[in-house]
């Protein structure tokens, strides 16, 4: 099973998507129109693919990570009715299965971590319900998507086979395809575009990895193994207040992060003033009142405390609970920050211990 490898011509991908659309909702990277041509930069969003020509597998990174489709903003938790006696029903979405086409390895790592977090009891049925119907088709990166990513340091540049159903490697005018699940096998079996790969799969991957080694460079000045301990030692560092002074507490870093999942719960009443729904919206641990309580006490009142909490959550708390870093190195937060706060910078300063 593990060694099933195939080829598909790039020109056939559009027709493959067309075929898959009969049975699946397709999500994938799509070029965003950029009328102002900001620095000639291209933007991509990972979203529902209505027309297969929109799918753009040759993309840098998506503004929001694909995981947010499993954990959408403003997701309805319950529908309620206040008419006597009051009643409430929890509901989950019932749709057809979906194929996530073109997920980068960093995002596959993030989805795998979120699967574990939301599977933790009491389980998050909303996420898991969407996730169980989601088939992941990954695509490997030969070149870095920007100078803000840390995947090469974080070991998330490539994904193990349990993190995807199907994986693609770019190979000239084709994609090399590896299938690692029954659901993935089903897709290969039902579509004639895939031809068995006769070459040496392992050798191809080895050469691909060598190209990656040439194209990617480390962002951190030390090995990643040191990071969690160095962050732990920096609890009382001046660094946090320095960052806190720059931070505008806007929460952009959290919104674009593939492993951020904090949320606020809100109610909306319909026009009949009786019925309505309760939904959750993404929240940010950087928001000033994130940890405040009814009595007015705020347990992380200072921006420095909130910034420290964010970095600790990624590098200490999630590792303590799950044995892996909470940061997959996608670099989105570094791009999104309007105050130019960069995790790369924070990590490096923590690693050299210049700021204790």
């Amino acid at each position: 099973m593990d060694d099933y490898s195939f080829l598909i011509s790039k020109s056939n991908v559009k027709d493959l998507i067309g075929n898959l659309q009969k049975d699946y909702n397709i999500f994938g990277p799509k070029k965003k129109s950029n009328p102002n041509n900001l620095n000639g930069k291209e933007f991509f969003s990972f979203e529902y693919i209505n027309d297969s020509v929109d799918l753009c597998l040759d993309y840098t990174t998506s503004i929001l990570p694909p995981i947010k489709i499993f954990f959408p903003n403003n997701e309805i938790l319950i529908r309620f009715d206040n008419s006597s006696p009051m009643s409430a029903k929890s509901i989950v979405e019932k749709g057809k299965s979906s194929v996530f086409f073109g997920v980068h390895p960093c995002d596959l790592h993030a989805i795998h971590l979120m699967d574990r977090i939301f599977n933790n009891k009491p389980r998050d049925e909303y996420y898991l319900n969407r996730r169980k119907d989601g088939i992941l088709v990954g695509i490997n990166c030969e070149k870095p998507c920007s100078d803000k990513n840390l995947c090469y340091d974080k070991g998330t540049l490539n994904a193990e086979s349990q993190l995807y159903d199907i994986m693609l490697w770019e190979k000239d005018k084709e994609y090399l395809v590896k299938v690692s699940s029954e659901r993935g096998k089903e897709i290969i079996k039902n579509n004639s575009f895939f031809t068995p790969f006769e070459g040496d799969f392992n050798n191809f991957v080895k050469q691909f990895n060598e190209k990656q080694d040439k194209n990617f460079s480390k962002r951190l000045i030390q090995d990643i193994e040191e990071l969690s301990n160095s962050v732990k030692e920096a609890y009382n560092s001046k660094l946090w207040s320095e960052i806190g002074d720059k931070c505008l507490s806007c929460g952009s870093c959290n919104m674009v992060c593939p492993t951020c999942y904090c949320f606020e719960i809100k109610d909306e009443v319909n026009i009949d003033l009786e019925s309505g729904y309760r939904y959750r919206s993404w929240d940010s641990c950087q928001n000033c009142d994130f940890a405040s309580v009814g009595s007015g006490e705020n347990f992380r009142e200072k921006s420095s405390q909130r910034n420290r909490h964010r970095v600790y959550k990624k590098e200490v708390y999630i590792p303590n609970n799950y044995g892996v870093s909470g940061c997959v190195g996608c670099g989105r937060c570094n791009t999104a920050c309007i105050a130019n706060i960069s995790l790369i910078d924070i990590y490096n300063r923590v690693l050299v211990k210049e700021i204790i």
């Binding site: 938790l77 206040n82 979405e93 019932k94 749709g95 998050d124 049925e125 904090c262």
Partner: protein
Amino acid sequence: MNYHSPSFIEFETGYAPIPAEIVNIEKATEKEKVFTLKLPGNQKLNYLPCQFVMVSVFGFGEAPISICSGPEDNELKLCIRNVGSLTGHIHKMNIGDFIGIRGPYGNGFPVEAIKSKDILLVAGGLGLAPLRSLIRYILANRSEFGKFMLLYGSKKISDRLFTSDIEDWNKLEDIDFHETVDVADQTWEGNIGLITQLFKFIDPDPKNTVGVVVGPPVMYRFVIREMLNKKLHISQIYMDLERRMRCGMGKCGHCQINEIFVCQKGPVFNYAEMIELNLKEAL
């Protein structure tokens, strides 16, 4: 099926509250009322002392509220302070109205771990509400515990909660009960001053006493120091922490202290464990 018009199915997720009828309302102070609730079909909520429920009024939202009745009581009681739009709305409700309840959540008090011990409970302000649940439990199982010391402090005379309980506790021979208010006029014959002053009235046996603190955040450090002065070991000290629980499921992140989700692993913490986990933000 178009993705943009998804259909929904009913599914048990833990987020749907059940309707609880308000069967009694006692005005405790200007800001607090005690609501007695009846669940559908008279079902009984199983809970431990110091657990909490998520209380909601649809359209106004949801908030964590400690249960102030004892686990063995026939009634479910919540003491609710009027601090915002949700609790303000609940304060306007009448007998016969319904509020939504889900839970209970949290670890609750490890009652088995403190059996046969002497007990020292210290409550400040609204902290008496969750502690009352433990007090009720101890009184209902009095023979299983040793000496029972109870200290309660309020800001003003008019802030005192559960005053009829206090009358009973004052009368009971086997509770060493002491009370204080921070400020008072001449009508007050009792102690005046901070709760830490009450420690001079008690003489806990350091070898066999378990101390429990619940109150406003500023109180913990000072009360714990008094307990340590009385030579209680850190592992004999427990506290119940207030945090902004939103989901109760250990997910939303609002109640998080380090890697701990207070709504699941708390709200009751052992001081020694807190030190071991280095939960600096907790105090």
